[in-house]
């Protein structure tokens, strides 16, 4: 991999996004209530979208953009479904 400006920036962005993933995983494990865990899951889905976007620039494959569309749909539906189900259960 040649060391142009864009490649270096992509690697730095990978490092930033991976540390964001680790930090939100910490909150997912610690989270006092279940709502904190749902917020952390929502953030993890967004971080995954960011990682896929950066990866699609790294390998120059525009097909990966479709995964981001599907992932944004699925993360919204799962968040709403879980938080609705929590109160329906009683």
């Amino acid at each position: 991999m040649e060391s142009t400006l864009l490649n270096i920036v992509l690697l730095i962005s990978f490092a930033l996004l991976l540390s964001a993933l680790g930090i939100s995983l910490l909150r997912l494990i610690k989270g006092p209530t279940i709502s904190d865990r749902i917020v952390a899951m929502d953030l993890i889905a967004s971080i995954t979208m960011g990682i896929i976007l950066v990866y699609s620039v790294l390998i120059k494959e525009s097909m990966y953009f479709d995964i981001v569309i599907i992932l944004s749909l699925v993360s919204f539906i799962s968040t709403v479904a879980i938080s609705t189900y929590l109160n329906r259960k009683k």
Binding site: T4, L10, V39, L43, S46, V68, T79, L86
Partner: protein, 96 residues
């Protein structure tokens, strides 16, 4: 020149997402945590998508980018509202 703009957009988007995850860890209340994650993450994804769209710069990619950005900005408040509402109802049920 184009590479410089793409680099700045992608780096800023990653920094915004990292800041929102730091907010998720550091704040000590559910509503403060949602305040940190919902807005900063939407803006970070917007910047990342703008960078990637500028990188490919074809019509279909700009169309898909507009779809994703509009969808995220429509659904992030809805998801946050659903979480906050369920948390509030659960807290009131526990108090009774």
């Amino acid at each position: 020149m184009k590479d410089l703009v793409i680099s700045i957009l992608i780096l800023l988007g990653s920094v915004f997402i990292l800041i929102s995850s730091i907010g998720l860890l550091r704040f000590n209340d559910l509503f403060s945590r949602m305040h940190a994650t919902t807005k900063a993450t939407s803006f970070g994804i917007l910047l990342l998508i703008a960078g990637v769209g500028l990188f490919y710069s074809t019509g279909i990619i700009w169309f898909k980018a507009a779809i994703v950005v509009i969808f995220i900005y429509l659904t992030a408040p809805l998801a946050a509202h659903a979480i906050a509402k369920s948390f509030d109802e659960k807290r009131q049920n526990d108090e009774d």
